[in-house]
Amino acid sequence: MAKNTTDKVRNGRATPTSRPSDSLTKDTLLEMYWKMLLSRRVDERAWMIHRQGKIVFHISAIGQEAIQVAAAYTIHLGVDYIVPYYRDLALVLCAGVTPEDFMISLYGKEGELSSLARQMPSHFGAKPFNIVSTSAPVATQVVHAAGMAFAIKYRIQNELQDPNDRTQPRLAVTSLGEGSTSQGEWHEAMNWAGVHQLPFICIVQNNHYAISVPVDKQMAVPNVADRAAAYGVEGIIVDGNDVLACYDVMHYAVQKAYRGDGPTLIEAKTYRMTPHSSDDDDRTYRERSEVDAWRDKDPLLRLANHLKAQGLLTDAVIEGYDKRARKIVDEAQRAAEERPYPPGESAIAPVYAEAN
């Protein structure tokens, strides 16, 4: 029987005295910063080319990169199952998707990685990296993640997999927005994870809005993490704009999953610094002052300031990073633009897999 852990809900860092993030090397910290920065720059470029009328749609991760990069640095990338949602740009960029891949998806060009340009951008997916294909109906992926975590437990229980074999997936991590936890799909997935105590991590990126609908019209509790106890799942709240705090809780949840000690829900409190998508106009439903206030909590800035305070980063280095990012993004955009569109007829592709 699972433990009820409402009272264990953590604020901020998992273990105040000795934190997993303490042992991150300078190189790793700078790499994490770099990944956040790169994602941000790719994302900003997407907004720009949308304004230029070059692409028809973009949906953004800006403001939510911290928990995503933290997730990437705590799981076994390329091996563990990643079941993302449309805002997980930073996560998938860490996992092996390239800026060029993403640009190609924005333009809907031939050979697009996730779907051969059949899907809208940000419907991530990459079989080689064990990133599951994303759809649009929210929360459906959480059930898949539970099923994949179930498969891990199944293989271990039925002796098809050695629990300590690190070449095999040992957990499934998924994410979704806070609004999407209103779906029955989320309830049922969490329940399976709880009943079977699966190696499953559900990251709720609570950015306080589901398009225009604020969280208090979505649920009558202050925290999504409060809901975890209903499933016998541990719920943890973390400052989603503090990448090191995110690293700590993710590290905790990942190690727990690897040990076979069950599922975790991580609620990363964060903010979507952009409109919902390029189709949205957020001025109809939120005050500019609120948006501005959150700009000060920008996770990228925060990490930069932290690393600078620690003497690990300088403005010159940042400038170098920015230059490098610009180059990568320029090249990615150019490559995507130069690439042909898929021929119209390629729409008619096999609907069924062949037996092999």
């Binding site: 028809v56 749609f57 809907g108 060009k109 697009e112 779907s115 340009a117 059949r118 899907q119 809208m120 951008p121 419907h123 759809s135 649009a136 109906p137 929210v138 609004g179 999407s180 209103s182 779906q183 029955g184 799909e185 589901a210 398009i211 225009s212 609908v213 019209k217 979505q218 649920m219 189709d279 949205d280 109809t284 439903y285 569109y341 898929p342 021929p343 119209g344 007829e345 390629s346 729409a347 008619i348 592709a349 609907v351």
Partner: protein, 328 residues
Amino acid sequence: MAQMNLLEAIRQGMDEEMEHDPRVFITGEDVGPRGGVFRVTQGLFEKYGPTRIIDSPLAELSIVGVGIGAALADLRPICEIQFADFIHPAMNQIMNEAARMYYRSGGTWTVPMVIRAPYGGGVGGGLYHSQSVEAFFAHTPGLKVIIPSTPYDAKGLIKSAIRDPNPVLFFETKKGYRLIKGDVPEGEYTVPIGEARVAREGSDLTVYSYGMMAHYAMQAAERVSQTDGIEAEVVDLRTLLPLDTKTVLESFKKTGKALIVHEDNLTMGFGAEIAAILASDGFEYMDAPIQRLCAPDIPGVPFSHPMQDYFMLNPTKIADAIRDLAAY
């Protein structure tokens, strides 16, 4: 008479019904201050306030299920599903509950509600913002299924739907929201549910269609009339369930040739039912194979625009099909 687009006509119809009946309310995702992601409910929150324009949680089954409960309790809910692609979580409530309530209760409990959803492709929406889902509901006795193709019909039919004592699915072509314009009388009128409309008279063949494709079918019919002298009759079904089989058959008796056009995929799309009716009740008038011009049987409209264009029907493809059939 005012010229307006499809979206404005739907909004005006709802607005008039809300004015006239305090039991009518709207719920769904982002229908409030945001005015809906397509702006169909724009201005209604300001006019009717948060007690009648209710932003729901992000949860379609309960948008519909709560609507059913409210309807059972004698309110008149209008439930907006943000995209038809997201109606699937609510299928249990729609098919097992709303559709069956009246019959299963021996005709005592009624579910007077409207479920609105934008449907259809051609807007860069990919697999999950382009779906046509009418066929599922057209197979479900107890539901009514409406798809208007003109602003006039849209206003008249949304008003009828709101007043109808049964659960009504009301699908709106998102591609046509702003594209399709037309005259709409001010104030009160309704268009009856269950009546098809002969949108264009013709003698050579009949094109059966609805929604955006009916709009395109009209364009195609005009074109072939001018270029080839082919006179296609165009039947805009307007209501799929209950279907106006009388109008469907009458036109066929006249023309003997049928082209059925929809943007939903071919197999088990609504065209199958039209074809089946013609092949039984219209047998003696059949002058040619019944043709269906539909989307291919793939799992959705691809995103990338060349593939989207390839997938989608348009007036040119319809005109070509009309010519082929006329030449049979």
